[in-house]
């Protein structure tokens, strides 16, 4: 199941694991991504809190966590190749995997269609 936020994150859930990234639209708006400030594994985040930041030359955008949980994996490939986000924001350009703490939080998020309409 894939959901979206108004702040341009996507989250895909498989069982208890939520994979999170920024949307293709967000990546396009940012321009060439030059750096992703990845969170530490083990970090606990609440829904809506800043999880990490994605930077281009002239901007730095916080990535807000769509759901609450614990960071269990980060995409370390982004360290060396942040451009993956521009190439495949909603696939290989995922940023973190969280262990979900409250699945019901997903209900409040946007569907793909709702998100696209909101743009």
């Amino acid at each position: 199941m894939k959901k979206f936020t108004k702040t341009h994150e996507w989250v895909e859930v498989e069982g208890k694991i939520a994979t999170i990234g920024i949307t293709e639209h967000a990546a396009e708006e940012l321009g060439d991504v030059t750096f992703v400030e990845l969170p530490e594994e083990g970090k606990e985040v609440k829904k809506g809190e800043a999880l990490c930041a994605v930077e281009s030359v002239k901007s730095a955008s916080d990535v807000y966590s769509p759901v609450s949980g614990k960071v269990i994996e980060v995409n370390t490939e982004l360290d060396a190749s942040p451009e993956i986000i521009n190439e495949d924001a909603e696939g290989k350009g995922w940023i973190v995997k969280l262990e979900l703490s409250d699945e019901s939080e997903l209900d409040g998020l946007l569907t793909e269609e709702e998100y696209k309409n909101s743009l």
Binding site: F35, E37, E55, S56, V57, K58, S59, A60
Partner: protein
Amino acid sequence: MKRFPYIPHTEEDIKEMMNVIGINDIKELYKDIPKLFEGELNIPESKSEIEVKRELLELSKRTINLEDYAMFRGAGIYKHYVPSAVYQLATKRNFLTAYTPYQAEVSQGTLQALYEFQTAICELTGMEVANSSMYDGGTAVAEAILMASRVNKKHKALVAKSIHPEYIEVSRTYTESQGLEIDLINFNEKTGRIDLEDLKSKIDENTSSVVISYPNFFGIIENIKQIKEILPEKVLLIVNAYPIALGLLEAPGKLGADIVVGEGQSLGNYMSFGGPTFGFFASKQKYIRQMPGRIIGETVDADGKRGFVMVLQTREQHIRRAKATSNICSNHALMAVIASIYLSIIGREGLKEIAYQSYQKAHYLAKKLIESEKFEPIFEGEFFNEFVIKPKFDLDKFNEKLYEEKFIGPLNLGYFFEDMKNDALFCATELNTKEEIDYLISKVGEIDEINL
């Protein structure tokens, strides 16, 4: 209408321009401001260049010009030789009257000069990366403490009591409001070096950084390696270095420093009553995203030609606003370029030689002063070009006598330390001649006769 040399508008121009705007009186451009100030400013009327120059010359005559004085005082600002080419090149008007290199295509002069500056600072300090300058040595130390805290998320800085007292004050001012704590580490009264036992006892899990000067405020050369060895892994070692000394002393980066900062004045900058000078700021590459200030990087242009731009701007206030690494917006680019030109002129061998001569002259001076038996040594630790000794007479009176001979004597440390009243902080550089030193010694010899 009165004419002003820096304003080109003629009456005709003004009329034409008002016509275009559709107004009849300049006042109409100000009609939205409250009428709170109707009078005239209480400052003098405009003057001609001739009059202004006279006035400034008169002020300058009541301010000593140390160019032809024998200088035995340092304490953070040093009289080193400034080669003739340095200011003539640095103050060329396209350097002087340009601003921040916002438009890189027409700022390659600034950008490359600052890139070269960063390179030189890395070479001097033995660090991997450097920014393009801070306001001065004091703010560089303060910002280094803040940076260390961002890196390791800890909140206590242990600062050697033997760094410049004003740097401690600045560091307190900068850090207090952010909830950081500064604890001072004593110096060993015998050696003048940092008291390692005191340092060990004060390190705890909140310790973010340790700050030392190299050499320290008393001129004593700290053993960076020894200090680094007792620090827990997460604690950052901040070294405030005197850049000229780095021609003789091992680079702090080679001895374990994590951040190296310092006052850059001695690198070709005039003393200018203490400002403007600049601070340099270097660190390990892995901390660069926590570094304050502007950083220049190399790149290519649309034709693949080498060029330079400002990089990592996402750390800075114009993008990150309240989340920036610092509020610093400008740097002291001109002073940094002065340093860069200076280092190009003196070169590798020149720096070595200046450091060596400064060391030798200071040691000759110290030896002669002690031999005069009018002073007692205080610290045993090895020094670079400054040292503290205890006069057996009234230092201020002696300094006044020296002044009449166009000699500036040592700093009375009572100025900074209650318990060091009348202790003398002497300094020598490559500019002090043997003749001057011998003359000073002869004056010391006369002390009994002049009854101090």
